[in-house]
Amino acid sequence: MTLLKKIRHLFSRSLSCEEANAFIADYLEGRLDPTLRSRFEAHLHMCPACTPFLEQYKQTVELVRDDGQIDVPAGLIEHTLSFLNERRIPGAEGAAS
């Protein structure tokens, strides 16, 4: 097989699950070139594992983005300005008093 044929073969065959896995983030961010995107989607159509896996990955990202669990403690800014004022950092003086 000539080198050109080998390259064509490599680019025409469908992706494996492992290869598709490596492209998930780029696929979701729209960063794949059209050829690779087509090969990725072709793999999804024929693979019973990767379709739910991709959906779970997307849901993971969405769940993380929704995780606003950390509350900022009351008085955080005032305490910080006082802390800086004690160390004579300009800008902390007026607000902390």
Partner: protein, 200 residues
């Protein structure tokens, strides 16, 4: 099918950076008001201790003020500020010996497994009812993020929660954008594994 890309919503555009760099008091005060909440959340994700996070955040502003002359305008001012804070947070973890290099093994175990290029596991769509239980869901996600090793928690926090751009995350962590993408992908895959037991 495309996820919206994070907005990279750090706030340099609303800060008077020149005034901060000149040491103008009011400008630094505005900086503290605007950046304290986000900086606190980032540091808290790493150290997971509210008092310590508060202390490190205060030290971050102090260090930033003392080092204003070293800011080179090659990155956003807020990126520079976050880098100071997160380096202090990581140093604090190391001091407490909570920065375990063996945790990379744990991350490997949480990645999907393949044999001859194919998934070895079967996957089903997650249960919509479980996903809809909002209070429990938030606790589970929060706990799963806390299970990740610090470097992975950090990249998830910066990119997916605080929505910094890949470029900004790379500058904050002083790694390449490619390394940010790889680390973020591994972190998301590990989180998917951790959440799978609850949502399947």
């Amino acid at each position: 099918m495309t996820l919206a890309s994070p907005s990279g919503a750090s706030s340099d555009s609303t800060l008077d950076i020149d005034a901060i760099l000149k040491g103008e008091p009011r400008a630094f005060e505005v900086l503290v008001h605007m950046e304290s909440p986000r900086l606190f959340r980032m540091i808290q994700r790493i150290v997971q201790d509210e008092d310590e996070a508060r202390s490190i955040m205060q030290e971050t502003f102090l260090q930033a003020y003392k080092r204003l002359a070293t800011f080179r305008k090659e990155a956003k001012f807020t990126t520079w500020l976050y880098a100071i804070g997160l380096n202090l947070a990581r140093a604090s973890l190391r001091k407490r010996r909570r920065y375990d290099m063996l945790e990379e093994d744990k991350m490997d175990r949480l990645q999907p497994a393949f044999e001859s290029g194919m998934h070895t596991e079967k996957f089903d769509f997650w249960n919509p009812q479980r996903l809809a239980e909002q209070n429990e869901r938030r606790n589970l996600v929060h706990a799963a993020i806390a299970e990740l090793p610090p470097d992975y928690r950090l990249v998830i926090t910066l990119r997916d929660i605080e929505e910094l751009s890949t470029t900004e995350v790379a500058q904050v962590l002083d790694i390449t954008e490619g390394a940010v993408r790889v680390r973020l992908h591994r972190a998301r895959l590990a989180l998917r594994t951790l959440l799978d037991r609850y949502f399947r």
